[in-house]
């Protein structure tokens, strides 16, 4: 697997957002916002309903009043016809007038007036109900003066809320109706909540408060309907008012219900978010743990491979070291036997001793061969792999250690895969070893700006170069030629197997390793590995 030490980008900001939503202030603020929105919506819609109600009721009342005032005109017409039909006002007029008063309680007085030009006017006949009284004939005369016969005039009445409708019948007669405004507007069309006013061009005629008052005066506003009464003779204007209060616009029960539901909804969302965030945190922690575990496993695998390889390297180092004196011993003994033979000492005890030496040297050599065969048995598991991936893995692994030691570890990788035929665990060991050596060198140099650079790049030929460079003091000239020798170490506690092992491994994959001192000081180790051939790359693609 690919080891990436950096956390995924973007996740911290996601956390901040979630944390913000978790705060109580945000919860309360969001709730208040919701309540205000609900209140505005409720008030607007209720007000619309109320306004419609008022205007509908107003219109039907206006229609009813218009019909009633039209009846007044009809009464005047029939009364004047009756009055004109007789030379003398008779009981008939009086009879009709009384029955009108009885059936139309809003008409409280009907008077027949005689007009005498120049000398005033007099009442001919007068019918009044309990609320009515006979009119002042002079006032009627003044009102109808100048009117053509058959024309009606509107006029005020002495009693508050009353008005008069007068009609000139001919030159000498006029009829007058006294109408109670309050009774005109009364009736089933008038809603109990309505405050009513009737007005004329001259001013307010009548004002009636609502029969049913609003339960509360909180935030009281009045919604009005205002329209003229359709009549040619009576210039009245109707106004219907309705007091609207806050509880009407914002009914408390639905509001309370909404408040409760929205609060619990928000609380639910908050707990869901919290749950999700906790889950995200837990997931992240689990991922981090699994990354750490992967690193640890990788480290263990490397350490294991290193132990095995070190054992092999040690055995092979010992074998090499012993082989040299054995070679000398064998050759010397064989030379000795030839010298003995030439001196005629064949088959003498000295010859036997030399022969025994030859045998023992060969026996020792056989033991070394068996030892080498035993430790070198680990099969080579070479396949085509991307060097970049494994360099990145080892850098990630080494970074933990180098970070702790305050050493900067930089890495430069190519963008395209660097395919080579290798055993990843073996090559990773080499890079791991070189990085560790570089870190030790930097530490020995007591540098505060310790830096190790690992880079992978295509080499001059068909190969790749892995370069590990440090800014330590470099490799002393007397050590440089012996650097890769087994059991040769410049470290006080070193076995001298590390670099020797690196060389053995790299050579196993037909590669090479070179150590030199950098131009700017510090050691530079270059591992060259042959690039996989085209056919081998296909194998990688098929894997």
């Amino acid at each position: 697997m690919m080891l990436t030490p950096d956390p995924r980008p973007g996740s911290p900001s996601m956390h901040r957002r979630l944390t913000f939503l978790r705060s109580s202030a945000a919860l309360v603020g969001g709730w208040l916002l919701l309540l205000v929105a609900f209140g505005l919506y409720s008030a607007t819609s209720h007000r619309q309903v109320l306004e419609q109600d008022v205007s509908e009721s107003g219109r039907s009342l206006q229609r009813a009043i218009s019909q009633r005032v039209a009846q007044h005109d009809a009464h005047l017409t029939s009364l004047s016809a009756l009055g004109l039909a007789q030379a003398q006002p008779s009981q008939d007029f009086d009879l009709v007038a009384r029955s009108i008063l009885r059936f139309y309680p809003r008409i409280v007085a009907i008077d027949l007036i005689r007009l005498s030009p120049g000398e005033g006017a007099s009442v001919v006949s007068s019918a009044t109900s309990a609320d009515g009284s006979t009119v002042d004939p002079l006032a009627v005369a003044r009102a109808v003066e100048g009117l053509a016969s058959g024309k009606a005039a509107y006029g005020p009445d002495g009693k508050p809320g009353h008005y008069r409708l007068m009609k000139r019948m001919n030159d000498t007669l006029a009829v007058s109706l006294d109408i109670d405004g309050a009774k005109l507007v009364e009736g089933e069309e008038s809603p109990r909540w309505a405050s009513l006013t009737l007005s004329t061009g001259q001013g307010l005629l009548l004002g009636m408060p609502a029969r049913q008052l609003a339960a509360s005066s909180l935030f009281a506003r009045t919604v009005r309907f205002d329209a003229p009464i359709a009549s040619a003779t009576q210039p009245l204007r109707l106004s219907v008012g309705r007091q609207v209060t806050l509880p009407q616009l914002l009914p408390p029960l639905p509001f309370a219900l909404f408040a409760a539901i929205s609060l619990s909804g928000l609380a639910l969302v908050r707990s869901l978010l919290r749950h999700r965030q906790d889950a995200a945190l837990a997931r992240e922690a689990a991922e981090a743990a699994s990354r750490r575990e992967a690193l640890r496993q990788h480290e263990t695998k490397l350490a294991h491979a290193l132990r095995i390889n070190s054992m092999g390297e040690m055995a092979s180092g010992i074998a090499h070291e012993l082989t040299q004196p054995l070679t000398a011993l064998l050759s010397q003994s064989q030379a000795g036997r030839r010298i003995a033979a030439a001196s005629g000492l064949q088959d003498t005890p000295i010859d036997s001793v030399l022969a025994a030496n030859v045998l023992q040297a060969k026996r020792a050599a056989d033991i070394l061969v068996r030892l080498r065969a035993y430790v070198g048995k680990s099969a080579l598991e070479a396949g085509v792999h991307d060097l970049g991936r494994h360099v990145a893995d080892i850098v990630a692994l080494s970074r933990i250690d180098l970070d702790r030691r305050g050493i900067v570890l930089d890495v430069e990788l190519p963008e395209t895969p660097a395919l080579a035929r290798i055993d990843p665990v073996e090559i990773e060991q080499v890079i791991h070893n070189l990085i560790r050596n570089a870190a030790d060198a930097v530490e020995q140099a007591d540098r505060v700006d310790g830096r190790v650079l690992v880079s992978l790049r295509p080499g001059s030929e068909e190969n790749f170069e892995i370069v590990v460079a440090d800014n330590g003091t470099g490799i002393p000239a007397d050590i440089l030629p012996r650097l890769f020798e087994p059991f040769f170490s410049s470290k006080p506690d070193g076995m001298g197997l590390g670099l020797s092992l690196c060389e053995s491994i790299v050579e196993r994959f037909d590669g090479s390793i070179v150590a030199e001192n950098g131009v700017a000081g510090g050691a530079v180790f270059t591992v060259r590995l042959p690039a996989a051939r085209t056919a081998e790359r296909r194998e990688e693609a098929a894997e």
């Binding site: 000398a328 064989q334 065969a373």
Partner: protein, 198 residues
């Protein structure tokens, strides 16, 4: 058969002196070198010989030394010996054109056989070089004639193939005999074979 001189390059003093002693008893001339770089500098001045190189040495491996020697024209038969019975190194050694790969400690018999073989290879190399030198003196036409004589063609056959008069062909044969220093048809055939190698 006389053995070519042996040049041993090994960083171990004990190995150097033991092998010197051993080869000395066979009457083989041997010169030893502890430092590969020093040998590399000396090699061009040495008489051609057989190279016996240790694989693992400080600074430079036997194989690298072999390559460098080849690059400066000392492409003498090379035997690599190593303390590691390393299969990979062995494979690479043969790829690089060494004549043998011996595992230390080297048994006398094995060593002498390998050296004799290498010495033979060196002789062949010298013979080939000598033949090539002789053949190089010939003109293109003479080389053509030599080739045909080597195949056992008669003067008449050669003349017909090259559309020359038999007399001219005889003149060419006389010139060839003079330049190669022999009139033997068998020798002609041998020189044509090994001297014309690319």
């Amino acid at each position: 058969m006389t053995m070519a001189p042996v040049y041993l390059v090994d960083d171990d003093e004990g190995v150097r002196s033991a092998l010197s002693l051993l080869l000395g008893t066979y009457g083989i001339r041997i010169e030893t070198f502890g430092d590969p770089t020093a040998f590399l500098a000396r090699a061009p001045k040495l008489k051609p010989g057989v190279l016996l190189l240790d694989l693992r040495m400080p600074a430079i491996t036997g194989l690298q030394l072999h390559e460098k020697l080849g690059a400066i024209g000392c492409d003498w038969p090379t035997i690599i010996c190593t303390g590691h019975g390393d299969v990979h190194a062995c494979r690479r050694a043969f790829k690089a054109g060494v004549v043998d790969f011996l595992t230390k400690p080297i048994d006398e018999q094995v060593l002498i056989e390998a050296l004799q073989q290498a010495s033979g290879a060196l002789d062949q190399q010298a013979e080939r070089a000598e033949a090539a030198q002789l053949v190089a003196q010939l003109t293109d036409r003479e080389r053509e004639v030599l080739d045909m004589v080597g195949r056992g063609w008669s003067t008449r056959e050669i003349a017909e193939t090259l559309t020359l008069s038999p007399r001219t062909v005889d003149t060419h044969r006389a010139n060839i005999a003079q330049k190669l220093g022999t009139t033997s048809v068998a020798e002609f055939a041998r020189l044509a074979l090994i001297g014309q190698a690319p």
